[in-house]
């Protein structure tokens, strides 16, 4: 049986792991390799590193830490941040990342998704989607969310974008529901269910985990393949071994 994946997300800024509430006011929570190893030992199924400062400043991911992580850990990891070309993707993948995730640059130039999929296969192309419900009730995509002063609200509908990137060659979608991110009241089940209904590739839920029940809920109700969280893991409020045991008790397939 294919397990549901528990994925700690490490937002990286200047080589350190940070976390903010609703994508703002970031504070340092730890050193990258140290946290990566801790999560690997605790039974994380995969890790995602988002260099949240990279896209807005036109910078690239610092390859140095990618290689250090690749040498140390034996579970898969994905790197996001400032990947704007096939060459950028190649460098990160060759440094040892298993997947790359693109977000703002894919919105600037959607063909980038196809170019990377053609070069390395769809299995390593993750598209990150930052989404917020607008006053008219529609979910729409946000761009450059790493820097609040540059964040742009786009006219593009979230579901429309998710369909578009799959047609272009995305092998996985991470849906960051900004309305629920960082406030620990649960994943945005309604939005994730809508995204699930139109996704034939794996879908990863992001934004809102506060208790083990929230994970059970998002797997059971939104049928996502993986659930991503940051602060609850970084603070130790939720331990991955206990979380997985709880999910197993509830009949959800996890890797113990």
């Amino acid at each position: 049986m294919l397990s549901r994946r528990i994925v700690p997300c490490l937002d990286v800024r200047d080589g350190q792991v940070v976390k903010g509430v609703r994508f703002r006011d970031h504070v340092v929570v730890g050193e990258i390799v140290e946290l990566a190893l801790r999560y690997r030992d605790e039974g994380a199924d995969e890790l995602v590193f988002y260099d949240i400062t990279a896209s807005p400043e036109g910078r690239r991911v610092d390859r140095d830490w990618v290689e250090r992580v690749a040498r140390e850990i034996d579970i898969p990891f994905c790197v996001a941040g400032g990947i704007r070309s096939v060459d950028d993707a190649r460098e990160v993948l060759h440094a040892g990342a298993d997947k790359i995730s693109i977000n703002s640059p894919a919105l600037e130039r959607p063909a980038l998704v196809s170019e990377i999929a053609d070069a390395f296969g769809v299995q390593c192309v993750v598209v990150g989607v930052d989404s917020l419900r607008d006053d008219d009730g529609e979910w729409r995509v946000r761009q450059y969310t790493g820097d609040p002063s540059r964040t742009k609200a786009l006219r593009k509908g979230t579901l429309e974008w998710i369909e578009e990137v799959q047609a272009l060659g995305a092998g996985e979608i991470v849906l960051n529901c900004m309305g629920t991110d960082g406030v620990r009241r649960g994943y945005d089940i309604e939005q994730l269910k809508a995204a699930r209904a139109i996704s034939h590739v794996p879908l990863v839920a992001s934004g809102g985990a506060g208790t083990p029940m929230h994970f059970a809920e998002v797997f059971r109700e939104a049928d996502v393949d993986a659930a991503l969280a940051a602060s609850v893991f970084h603070t130790g409020d939720i331990g991955i071994p206990a979380l997985k045991r709880e999910l197993r008790t509830q009949g959800i397939e996890v890797r113990l």
Binding site: M1, L2, S3, R4, R5, R40, D45, E46, E67, A70, R71, D74, I75, P76, R90, L93, H94, A95, G96, D98, K99, A119, F120, G121, V122, Q123, C124, G171, E172, S199, H200, V201, P202, D225, A226, R255
Partner: protein
């Protein structure tokens, strides 16, 4: 022991190399025929698509070199698929040392492709390569094409239907998942390969 990693353009070469280093083995990355022939163990990693993978092997003049090897050879992920007869992926002729066709996962409602994540392994045939593997151990998969089960299957997994997770035909072996990213289970399997 002299382990070589065949450079067929796979992006996971670094990860496989690091995994071997964690086991205390330094593997050389090469596309040189003489060095490959002289190795005690040959690993063909692979991430990407079958057609460009085979093209790289042809351009490097390695097709016959690999086919004629007598030492233990391990294909990982796409590398395992390249050991088979043919792949449905762009209808590609492969190395033909494992008698199998590589097929795309069939379209089924609710079946997500790529098959991505940790899936359990079911040992179907005892072999030194899978020594110590327990029923239900999980490994990390990422792929859209798969090798059906057959006489060559050592361990199977399931995604919509059963498929080969570990194969062997004589000295040619393959793992569809990524042992380099499959935690302790992957390390054990790589250790087994190196002990052959």
């Amino acid at each position: 022991m002299k382990v070589v990693l065949v450079d067929a353009g796979g992006t996971n070469i670094g990860s496989v190399r690091y995994a071997l280093q964690r086991l205390g083995t330094d593997a050389e990355l090469t596309s040189d025929a003489a060095r490959i022939r002289a190795a005690s163990h040959v690993i063909l990693p692979g991430v990407g698509a079958a057609a460009p993978g085979m093209r790289m092997l042809r351009e490097a003049g390695l097709v016959d070199v690999l086919r004629e090897l007598k030492q233990p050879v391990l294909g990982v992920c796409l590398g395992m698929q390249l050991l088979c007869d043919r792949s449905e992926e762009s209808d590609t002729e492969c190395l033909g040392v494992i008698p199998a066709m590589v097929r795309r996962f069939v379209d089924m409602p609710g079946l997500r492709v790529p098959h991505m994540g940790w899936n359990t392994l079911e040992v179907t045939t005892a072999h030194r390569l899978t020594a110590g593997l327990r029923q239900g151990d999980a490994a990390y998969f990422v792929h859209s094409f798969a090798v059906p089960t057959g006489d060559y299957t050592l361990a199977a997994s399931e995604h919509g239907e059963a498929f080969s997770a570990v194969v062997a035909s004589g000295n040619f072996m393959g793992m569809q998942f990524h042992p380099e990213r499959s935690a302790g289970v992957g390390a054990q399997l790589l250790r087994n390969f190196l002990s052959l």
